[in-house]
């Protein structure tokens, strides 16, 4: 039992095997628009995989396939070897998706947002749930936010509450959709550290969707870049620093050229 391939539960000493994700020839169309085109890659158990790509390239749609919110037009997504499209997979593998906008329950307090999952799944008594929720809030330095409602939170706090809510599920697989967008640099760094800590201490397999090059280089063990629905890059941090494809290089560090602006190039 090697430590790194097991997910440690943050609330007890229980270890469950870390899960891997396999995306096999995944294509997805909405009507006539093909959003994902034959995407294949693998995420190893216990690693942090960062998925980059411009807006509208299909990153969120891809994450939704992993949790079964979208069904593939063709191809397959396997989570821990099981079909992600099947209802049972959600019961067998604990996956948590941290939505881009948080998707907090607006009618519930922060505390009740976190307590909803354990209450609905009846894991433990109310006192145990309380302990778990307070611990998750503490991990994300949200101790004082328990009684607040989502509408009273700042952007950074919403993101952290969304992560805390995911954490209470004791996930084996964490998916983060742009966890640092719209945040100031310090808060972005904090979130990146949280993601790395969760992986380091609890060995949660993590897939992070991000535009943030600094975050990617700091915590990403492997990186994929999605452009126009195709996976154009797959490699580690070192390979990302020296990309061969000029399109990738331009995406990672776009040069601002006032003399020859991009919006004029698009016209021709």
């Amino acid at each position: 039992m090697s430590e790194s391939t097991h997910t440690t539960n943050p609330f007890s000493a229980v270890q469950t095997p870390a899960v891997g994700v396999k995306i096999q020839h995944l294509s997805k169309s909405f009507g006539t628009v093909e959003v994902l085109k034959d995407v294949s890659f693998e995420v190893q158990p216990g690693e942090i995989f960062v998925l980059m790509g411009p807006s509208g390239s299909g990153k969120s749609v891809l994450l939704k396939h992993i949790v079964g919110l979208e069904l593939p037009t063709s191809g397959q997504v396997l989570v821990d070897g099981k079909d992600a499209a099947a209802e049972e997979t959600r019961e067998q593998v604990r996956m948590a998706l941290v939505f881009q906008a948080g998707a907090l329950f607006n009618s519930l307090s922060v505390y009740d947002n976190l307590a909803l999952y354990p209450r609905e799944h009846r894991v433990g008594k109310e006192s145990e749930i309380r302990e778990k929720v307070m611990r998750a809030l503490q991990i994300l330095s949200l101790d004082n936010a328990a009684a607040k409602f989502p509408s009273e939170l700042s952007g950074g706090m919403r993101k952290r509450v969304a992560i805390a809510r995911a954490l209470v599920m004791e996930p084996q697989l964490m998916l983060y959709d742009e966890p640092t967008s719209e945040l100031d640099p310090v808060m972005s760094a904090t979130i990146a550290e949280i993601i790395a800590t969760l992986k380091e201490e609890y060995h949660v397999t993590s897939i992070v969707v991000s535009h943030d090059r600094d975050l990617t280089l700091a915590i990403g063990e492997r990186v994929g870049i999605l452009m126009g629905g195709k996976l154009l890059f797959l490699g580690n941090g070192a390979e990302l620093r020296a990309p061969k494809d000029p399109k990738i290089a331009d995406f990672l560090s776009p040069k601002i050229d006032v003399k020859n602006p991009r919006f004029r190039q698009l016209e021709t």
Partner: protein
Amino acid sequence: MKPFVRVLEGVGSTVQLMVRAAYFLPTLPRQFGRFIDQCYLIGYTTLPIVAILSFFIGSVLALQAGYAAQNLGPKQFIGLLVGLSMARELAPVMVAVLLAGRVGSAIAAELASMKVYQEIDALETMNIPPVRMLVMPRLVAVVVMMPVLTIIADLVGWFGGAIVAKYTDFIAIEPASYFATMRQYMDFGDVMNGLVKAEAFGFVVVLVCCNIGLNTRGGPREIGAAVTRAVVTSLIIILVLDYFVTKALS
């Protein structure tokens, strides 16, 4: 052709929603808090207007009946007319219309907003069926509350009619004789008839509004559209259903 297909789709998904809600009925005991909240909400939001409206509907009925009775003689029949119209027709329809306007619209808005802001998706990733938590308790609550609201509407309407019948100069009949004809020619079956209607209306209104809310797609502006659609659809269904239920019960 297209609107026809959309209506069929709507009916199909509504029936599906009902079946799924029924499947989660056994979870009611552990969702008792949610059920009570919904009962309270339905009662609290509709009771005041139900009371005011039924009082005036009863009054107007008495007034009109009194006007008709001026040339026709027996004024005691005013009590029977108010009693029957309220119990068999006006109370259930009025309560259902108010339910659509106050509760149905709120349900559609809440669920549509949860859908648009991905709260429904979040529930699904948490393996918590939205129907179990959001639809089933509301349906049970409306089934429990509709008879209560309708009986209150009946009583207040009858009472309003009695007051008008006594204090309008050209009617001027005592409450005793007003209620005597009601007692004599009406039975519990007439009230029951109205309660059955009210149950049918209330259940369908909440079910349809839940379904429209949960099927909202797109951005925030769709929330407003969903509310409008929910209320309009509810009103149409109430009136159409009214005819068929009345026919079936008579």
